[in-house]
């Protein structure tokens, strides 16, 4: 009998620590962390309104302050006939990038690499790179290649100052040199990695290293395939596959129990469907059988249902929950530590969130002017420009299926929004409103 009681006593805390149902998450009253419960209900109305108008299928939103979750709500549908749950699993896509940056910074702290190291030190294909310069129209040859003034460094990959591109932005920023490089990417079988190509990430990265850069390293800020290269760099430096490294060094220590690069079959039922929205009430569940966007920006929601594969994109492949991602961001907000487990030093997090990595450039992609880019995410640097919410020092990034996180160190506040809706461009207004609701709930 005593043995049974002992066993029960041992098992009870373990069972209770698994957030398998909504009630298991440890939450506090908003007032206890300086948030207004009444004002947070504005968030309910905001999301429910978007769901009712069929602009989005559903969403999960979390607001935490001073290390405690004060608001955590699921609304709408995760899939046809399936309500959104707080433990629904999402394709976080580009929100993989801060995790990849963290893996690199852990190797940096272990003395395995320096941010000033040339990438070519670890991936020889990056040696002697050239920059493509478009020749004037009518010239005998359309471009010329000039040697890099200095090699691409690991810091450039973290801050997107390498001159590597994403193909899909060719439509957004039309430019002859960009177009020529994108054509070369296509010819060499380089993709943006969202569609999980049938090859190892290292094979893609090696080909990418042999192609011309768009600009001199350090002289540009251009959102590109940098984190994918970093993911492969983790493999080269650590000797482990990228997914295994992240699982052992980040997911497990932070107890991110629902975060993966390939989902185990038993968790597939928790994966949200992707919805295609015209933002005017036309909402359709996207097919899992074929890409919803074919072309350069290849988006295929069904790829996330693969239980195994070779492609491990440090810029795009992660699947996670709002709660798991909260644990990751809380670690960053705490200066590299969560629940007694330290992944990074405070000084390293300070380095990642410093605003001087991209010089005079602004990180004008997800945000506008007034935002810089650190070593994995954008950082608000001033209030002189048009900004709806947040404080100077707030760092954020988003995912192309409509996921977003925001960490406000000054207010010790984290906001995470996750939906699975395409296209991406419509969501800026909704995200901004979510962040306004989160900020305006501060009541101390």
């Amino acid at each position: 009998m005593n043995v049974l009681l002992l066993l029960l006593a041992l098992l009870l805390p373990v069972c209770c620590s698994q957030p398998s149902a909504a009630a298991d998450y440890h939450m506090v009253k908003p007032a206890s962390v300086g948030l207004s419960a009444a004002r947070l209900t504005n968030m309910d109305r905001l999301i429910e309104n978007y769901v009712e108008q069929k602009k989005i299928g559903g969403a999960v939103v979390l607001v935490a302050r001073k290390g405690e979750i004060a608001y955590f709500k699921a609304s709408g549908l995760a899939d046809v006939g399936k309500p959104m749950q707080r433990d629904t699993i999402f394709r976080v896509v580009s929100m993989t990038k801060p995790v990849t940056s963290t893996a690199i910074m852990m190797l940096y702290e272990e003395g395995k690499l320096l941010l000033s190291d040339p990438v070519a030190k670890y991936i020889p294909e990056f040696r002697n790179q050239k920059v493509l310069i478009a020749n004037p129209a009518g010239a005998e040859f359309p471009y010329r290649l000039v040697p890099v003034k200095r090699e691409v460094q690991i810091r450039d990959l973290l801050a997107h100052t390498s001159g590597l591109l994403y193909l899909f932005l060719n439509d957004v920023y039309p430019d002859p040199a960009r177009n020529m490089i994108v054509q070369m990417y296509k010819e060499a079988g380089i993709t943006d990695g969202f569609c999980r190509p049938d090859e190892a990430i290292g094979d893609m990265v090696k080909r990418l290293g042999g192609l011309p850069l768009y600009a001199q390293p350090g002289e540009v800020w251009d959102y590109g395939l940098n984190s994918d290269v970093l993911g492969y760099l983790v493999e080269v430096v650590s000797g482990m596959t990228f997914d295994r490294y992240v699982e052992e060094h980040i997911f497990k220590p932070l107890k991110m129990k629902d975060s993966y690069f390939y989902l185990p079959e038993e968790k597939l039922p928790r994966l949200a469907a992707v919805w295609q929205s015209d933002w005017q009430g036309g909402l359709v569940r996207a097919s899992d059988e074929k890409p919803i966007v074919a072309g350069d920006l290849c988006l295929n929601p069904g790829d996330a249902r693969a239980s195994s594969g070779k492609y491990l994109a440090g810029g795009a492949s992660m699947l996670s929950t709002v709660y798991d991602y909260y644990r990751f961001t809380q670690m960053l907000l705490n200066g590299g530590e969560l629940d007694g487990v330290r992944l990074l030093s405070r000084k390293t997090v300070e380095l990642m969130t410093a605003t001087n990595h991209i010089g005079e450039h602004d990180a004008v992609f997800l945000h506008g002017h007034g935002w810089k880019f650190g070593l994995g995410f954008a950082i608000q640097v001033d209030r002189e420009h048009s900004v709806d919410s947040g404080d100077v020092g707030t760092y954020e990034w988003a995912g192309i299926y409509s996921t977003r996180f925001s960490v406000d160190p000054k207010e010790q506040k984290i906001t995470i929004f996750m939906s699975q809706t395409n296209p991406f461009g419509h969501h800026f207004e909704l995200w901004d409103k979510v962040l306004v609701q989160s900020a305006s709930a501060i009541a101390d």
Partner: protein, 280 residues
């Protein structure tokens, strides 16, 4: 000088002389950035013959490097993912030489080039069995309904003349197009197919079928540039060194290392009977 000072001097000197060179922690660059190599040779990735993924760069890389060394030519060999980059370096930057196949040049361009065959390879037609479960018939009636998957700059005149549609891609993308049914057949050296399938599509290797007949001889060339100051002299010395390697058995030994003795001898025989420029 006191005795202790005399004893310390050699010790201090040994520290200075034997200590490792201090390394800076700031940004660093390769020395080649400051001393650009004047003799650049460019080629395109073509596994298993030329590839950074193969030991020593593959058989052709090793043959070329050995011949260059024997000829006293100090050159830097770069392997690129795209053929158009190889053409760029040859024609726009007047590189010393390039190495490759399916490199087409205009008559004017050819006058400035010295073309030396390095290796001759068999090519076979490959198709994807699930798309053609009863086999692939390439007689004139069937060809009209088929799509041929071609590499850029490959000579496809015989297919277009037969009424075939042609789609383009690199070898890996052509294999994927075969699998999707976008193209019906391609022409590739069997060793390349085997290497790529083992590496990328091992589970489906048996589904890619070669037609038994050898359809073509594909030649890998070294192409020297007369517009480079050392081009003509280097070409003459390279040709001589390559011939000597064939004669004294070094060429065969390298082929044996990569391809096995049987295959190696086959490649060697063909090279001996091959005239420069054929098929280019």
């Amino acid at each position: 000088m006191k005795r202790t000072q005399m004893m310390l001097l050699p010790l201090l000197l040994s520290f200075v002389l034997l200590a490792p060179v201090a390394s800076a922690t700031g940004p660093r660059v390769t020395t080649t950035l400051f001393s650009a190599h004047e003799n650049e040779i460019h080629t395109v990735d073509f596994p298993p013959y030329v590839s950074t993924d193969v030991v020593d760069g593959g058989s052709v890389s090793e043959i070329v490097r050995t011949a260059l060394m024997a000829a006293g030519i100090d050159a830097d060999l770069s392997i690129h993912p795209l053929k158009r980059m190889v053409n760029y370096y040859l024609l726009q930057e007047n590189a010393l030489a390039v190495m490759g196949r399916h490199l087409h040049f205009s008559d004017v361009q050819r006058k400035a080039l010295i073309i030396i065959p390095v290796m001759v390879m068999e090519e076979q037609y490959i198709y994807y069995k699930p798309q053609h479960p009863d086999g692939l018939n390439l007689d004139s009636d069937h060809l009209k309904q088929l799509v041929y998957g071609s590499h850029q700059d490959e000579d496809v005149s015989r297919f277009t003349a037969a009424g075939c549609t042609v789609k383009y891609g690199n070898t890996m993308s052509l294999l994927k197009q075969l699998r999707r049914g976008d193209v019906d057949f391609i022409e590739v050296p069997p060793l390349t197919i085997e290497w790529l399938l083992d590496r990328y599509m091992a589970d489906e290797k048996e589904q890619f079928v070669s037609l038994p007949d050898v359809v073509d001889n594909e030649v890998l060339y070294m192409i020297f540039n007369r517009k480079h100051a050392a081009g003509e002299d280097a070409a003459a010395r390279f040709k001589q060194a390559l011939a000597a390697m064939v004669k004294d058995g070094r060429y065969g030994t390298i082929l044996d290392k990569y391809l096995g003795a049987e295959h190696g001898k086959l490649y060697l025989r063909r090279l001996e009977s091959f005239s420069a420029g054929q098929g280019l």
